[in-house]
Amino acid sequence: MSDPRELYQQVIIEHNKKPRNYGDLEPCTHHAHGLNPLCGDDIVLKVVVADGVVQDIRFLGQGCAISKASSSLMTVNVKGRPVAEAELMVEQFRSMIRGTLDTAVDPNILGKLSLFQGVKNLPSRVKCAVLPWATLHSALHGEEIVSTE
């Protein structure tokens, strides 16, 4: 990372300040608790799935700007999508952060989420960005607790 502003772009700062879909969601059909014990990021994700579509999704918790903005942008981007597409996004987001998917070259459905691509150059923050996605994966698969450690 040549400049922290490459990562801490305005969108991330803004979603950190005003996270979307923040709060509790009851009743829900799926939920999971994501923990990053290294830095204390902690999110609870609740999802309503009906007719194979993510009808609603909300998160609660605390964490750094990267994890909070990643959670916020994830909810915005998966809400209303078929579960299969949400799963594909989980996979593609992880690949992007691992550096095996270049959003500028490889076909993907990540859209605006590509702004997290810079995290791959910051190994210590990878887990923060991936936490909500790992939690979504667990929720959709009926696992109640997930740790990125």
Binding site: N16, G40, Q62, C64, I66, L122
Partner: protein, 412 residues
């Protein structure tokens, strides 16, 4: 004040001993404010380790070769250096471990296992590192005992008025850190030990953050156990110390079994060595022990009192500078503090602060510092912690302050 304290440290000269400080980091000079997580290793220590490993190495306490005898001598000289450094009565009471964590586990699994029973109590302070909590919780779970806690106030000082009521007839041991790794609080361990002893309770002092910053005298403290790590005091990782009172160590059963720690082995019965060998099964961390001995020499040459005076003046300067930053709150305002400055910034998570400071070439610790109960006590998930060592300068602190202002600018 002694003459040695009045002559300040020659910091510019000291910095020449740390190659990392003279090597660009993200294209800038490295500003290392993270000695509380692990101290940088000065060249005389790394050179001593390299020399031992290159020219003097073989196994210790084995065989009749001259090389083995000399390796053994160097290894035992290091033990003697550590003994003198903390004023222990005998080098037999200096047991090598992997570090503070292993030292506490050793005590919990030997002394603790033989002394703690159902309904008994283990008393710990509210500001312990996980290494002085979890081994006791494991023991308490196994034995049906319970862990009780000495509370602390909002300044991060232990509340000792009611200590006697926490020291009950069921209390089997009291564990307390000499210096808080999160807040830098220097606890009055000598007084705590005196009051615990008055109730017949032995005390384990976690000296991991104490021994690099304060002159330590275990005899004067009257500590029953005193534990610390090499890597927090300019030595290598993988080596640490358990000091114990002789009669306690002698009465404790061995911990790990294996080579070195035995007098004789037959299928019917094995006889164990006396202290310290009884607790040192297997081939020890020889190079690391010798490296720790070199670190003791290095710190002694600088002078612990001069180190403490330098670090204290850095802390005072840092506290004054950060007091002018709006939205910054210092966690831990004890009257007696070592050179640790933990803080939170309104609306900005410590990990983001740490990442941005890192880019500025400033290394700090951001996180819960392996002391989650302290975070819970203050209602925060994490802090950013700058810790100052004998090689740090006021310019380092100026850079920290500029870095914090830059973080606030990005998050504006």
């Amino acid at each position: 004040m002694t003459t040695a304290t009045r002559t300040p440290l020659d910091v510019a000269k000291i910095r020449q001993d740390f190659p990392a400080l003279n090597t660009p980091f993200h294209g800038r000079p490295l500003i290392y404010l993270d000695s509380a997580v692990s101290a940088l290793t000065p060249r005389p220590v790394t050179e001593r380790i390299s020399h031992y490993q290159s020219y003097e190495h073989t196994n210790v306490h084995r065989g009749v070769s001259t090389l083995s005898q000399e390796a053994t001598d160097r290894f035992e000289e290091a033990r003697e250096k550590v003994r003198a450094f903390i004023n222990a009565p005998s080098s037999a009471q200096i047991i090598w471990t992997r570090g503070t964590t292993e030292s506490v586990n050793l005590v919990a699994q030997t002394f603790g296992r033989s002394k703690v029973g159902p309904g008994d109590e283990i008393l710990l302070s509210a500001m312990e590192h996980h290494s002085n909590i979890v081994p006791w919780q494991i023991l308490a779970e196994e034995k049906g005992a319970r862990v009780r806690v000495i509370p602390m106030n909002d300044a991060g000082e232990l509340m000792l008025d009611d200590l006697e009521s926490l020291l009950t007839e069921r209390t089997r041991i009291l564990g307390v850190t000499q210096v808080s790794n999160v807040m830098g609080t220097i606890n009055p361990v000598k007084e705590i030990i005196r009051r615990a002893h008055a109730k017949g309770v032995p005390v384990l002092v976690d000296g991991a953050q104490g021994v690099p910053h304060l002159p330590v005298d275990v005899a004067d403290l009257d500590a029953d156990f005193y534990v610390f790590s090499g890597h927090k005091m300019s030595g290598p990782t993988g080596i640490g110390v358990l000091y114990g009172r002789r009669e306690l160590l002698e009465a404790m059963p061995p911990w790990q079994g294996g080579g070195s720690m035995i007098l004789s082995v037959t299928w019917d019965k094995t006889q164990f060595c006396g202290i310290p060998t009884k607790f040192e099964a297997g081939t020890p961390a020889i190079a690391q022990a010798i490296g720790l001995g070199a670190a003791v020499d290095y710190l002694k040459a600088l002078g612990l009192e001069r180190i403490a005076a330098h670090e204290h003046s850095l802390l005072a300067y840092a506290e004054e500078r950060v007091a002018a930053i709006p939205g910054l709150r210092v966690i831990g305002n004890a009257k007696a503090k070592a050179s640790v400055l933990s803080f939170v910034l309104e609306g900005i998570h410590p990990h983001d602060i740490g990442s941005i400071l890192d880019h500025e070439g400033i290394v700090v610790r951001a996180g819960h510092h392996c002391a989650q109960p302290v975070m819970t006590r203050f209602g925060i998930p994490a802090t950013t912690r700058a810790s100052f060592s004998y090689f740090n300068t006021r310019e380092d602190i100026d850079a920290l302050v500029s870095g914090i202002l830059k973080v606030q600018e990005i998050f504006k």
